[in-house]
């Protein structure tokens, strides 16, 4: 029995310390997945915290498989809840502010079409923002598949377990997401650091 399985068993028996050790081990992954899906640090924080509490409440339903996959399933469900809530109650600030920097955004993304304009590209600048921008333009299902497979590097089997869909569905979602991401990221290519450009990648 692996260390993770032992900790999970002790947590199921009511040992909070064991549960917290598992949380510490996977919290970074959980938060980053939530952040890439929701594109918002505060929302990702809430979703992760809710997922951890929900995991503790439902420890009895854990059947001894991969704890990481089980926890990430709760996290993605929590993110889905938040995405549905946003669709029901869309809220857009009149004076858009960048949450990270606190600066006002001159050209918010809802004011432009899908293909980024030069000023948007300049604003995004860095790779992280480019990736997040392209991920945000994907449908929810494709975004989650891309985050789990390409950003977090999980294999199809794990993703299938997390999302609860068959392997064929995962493959399909991944290649469709990649096709769109490739087109989006190419538009940022000239602004990316040299080492991330396609030409340097090829040659």
């Amino acid at each position: 029995m692996t260390e993770e399985a032992l900790l999970a068993k002790r947590a199921q028996a009511g040992n909070l310390e064991a549960f917290n050790q598992l949380v510490l081990k996977h919290q970074g992954l959980a938060f980053n997945v939530a952040y890439r899906i929701l594109a918002d640090s505060a929302a990702a924080d809430d979703a992760t915290q809710n997922a951890i509490i929900s995991a503790f409440q439902n420890l009895k339903s854990y059947r001894g498989s991969s704890f990481k996959a089980w926890l990430l399933r709760i996290v993605t469900n929590s993110c889905y809840d938040e995405l549905r809530r946003r669709k029901r109650q869309p809220s857009v600030a009149l004076d858009p502010v960048n949450i990270e920097t606190g600066e006002e955004i001159e050209s918010p993304k809802w004011m432009v079409d899908d293909s980024p304009l030069p000023e948007d590209i300049v604003a995004l600048g860095e790779l992280d923002q480019a990736v997040q921008h392209c991920l945000d333009n994907l449908p929810d299902e494709f975004r989650i598949a891309a985050v789990l497979v390409d950003v977090e590097g999980m294999n199809y089997g794990e993703v299938s377990e997390i999302i609860g869909k068959p392997l064929g569905t995962i493959k399909s979602r991944v290649y469709r997401a990649r096709k769109r991401l490739q087109q989006c990221l190419q538009s940022f290519q000239e602004l990316l650091p040299v080492k991330y450009r396609l030409l340097s990648e090829i040659r």
Partner: protein, 346 residues
């Protein structure tokens, strides 16, 4: 460098993606690698997807803003909150189920009180009104059967002292009388007024009156149960009256004929007796008819009321109760599903 691989199909993109993730079989992989050497567009597409994948994989990771571990207090609160949610949903489900049962009980209570099957309530009013008519028809049939039985039995008992020839004649007369009485039954059913009925009765009585001194059969007609009948009481009363008169005349006439061999009585005396008996019989008849009519009218009224109560349009209260039943059943189901989901959610 923008690359357009417009000639590639979706299937090609899927194979490229699967190739990069090691999802192809050995055979598929070899076939794909052969294609790569031959197709420039496919090669370019593979490079683009490879680059996309690497860029995504190199995207910087965020640091967690804080640890997400649970304190003892948070753990207790989390457990308590889950139990509270389950209790609340369970309580809602229980209340809704109870409401459903109460409303359903109120809906079905009238049928249990009446001791009727609930589907009778859906029967049309006409069907309810047919039942008394059927009972009437059965009562008339019973009466006819009784008459037939007594017609067969009566000559054996009553005609013993009479000679064979007379007996045969009287049997023929008796049969004629039965036929006449059947006509009376039909006439009585059609007759609406008491006067018409009396006239018919008198005419029948005159026709069926045997010749004085000849002796005859004794018809003892027992009135059939007449509570549900509209025709039978009149028929029974009339038949009884005719039978009684016939008996009385026979009692007086037959012994005298046997003893003296003369005419039993003068016509004037007989007429006086007949008129007296007729008067008293008419009084009885009218009283019986009145009481029967009263019974009939009250019975018809109760039947109509019952039919109306069973077939009338549902009231607002009944419709509200029905809507409440549906709502409570739905609430109970939803609450139970919520309890199930809360318990198993992960």
């Amino acid at each position: 460098m923008m690359m357009n691989n417009r000639r590639l199909k979706d299937k090609d993109w899927q194979i490229i993606s699967a190739y990069l993730d090691g999802q192809l079989t050995e055979k598929q992989e070899m076939a794909f690698e052969i294609r790569l050497t031959q197709e420039t567009e496919l090669r370019d597409a593979l490079r683009q997807i490879q680059w996309t994948k690497s860029v995504l994989r190199k995207a910087p990771r965020r640091k967690v803003p804080h640890h997400f571990i649970l304190t003892q207090q948070m753990a207790v609160e989390a457990k308590r909150r889950k139990n509270r949610v389950i209790r609340q949903y369970g309580l809602v489900s229980g209340i809704a189920s109870l409401t459903f049962l109460i409303l359903a009980g109120f809906q079905l209570l009238p049928y249990f009180k009446m001791g009727m099957a609930p589907n009778l309530a859906m029967a049309p009013k006409e069907a309810l009104m047919e039942e008394p008519m059927m009972m009437e028809a059965e009562a008339v049939e019973e009466l006819e059967v009784e008459e037939g039985i007594q017609m067969q039995e009566a000559p054996v008992v009553e005609a013993e002292p009479v000679e064979d020839v007379e007996t045969a004649d009287m049997m023929v007369e008796g049969a004629e009388k039965v036929v006449v009485e059947e006509e009376l039954v039909e006439s009585a059913a059609v007759a609406e007024s008491e006067e018409e009925l009396n006239e018919i009765t008198d005419s029948v009585k005159e026709e069926s009156q045997p010749p004085i001194g000849e002796g005859g059969l004794s018809f003892t007609l027992t009135p059939a149960p007449t509570e549900m009948s509209t025709i039978t009481p009149i028929v029974a009363a009339t038949s009884a009256k005719v039978g009684e008169e016939f008996d009385a005349s026979m009692e007086e006439s037959v012994p005298r004929a046997e003893e003296t061999g003369e005419l039993p009585k003068e016509e004037g005396l007989i007429e006086e007796d007949e008129s007296r008996e007729e008067a008293s019989t008419n009084e009885d008849e009218s009283r019986e008819e009145a009481s029967t009519n009263e019974d009939e009218s009250s019975l018809d009224q109760s039947i109509i009321e019952t039919g109306e109560s069973l077939t009338k349009q549902p009231s607002v209260f009944e419709m509200l109760a029905f809507a409440g039943m549906l709502l409570s059943a739905l609430t109970a189901i939803v609450a139970l599903v919520a309890v199930f989901r809360t318990k198993n959610r992960s």
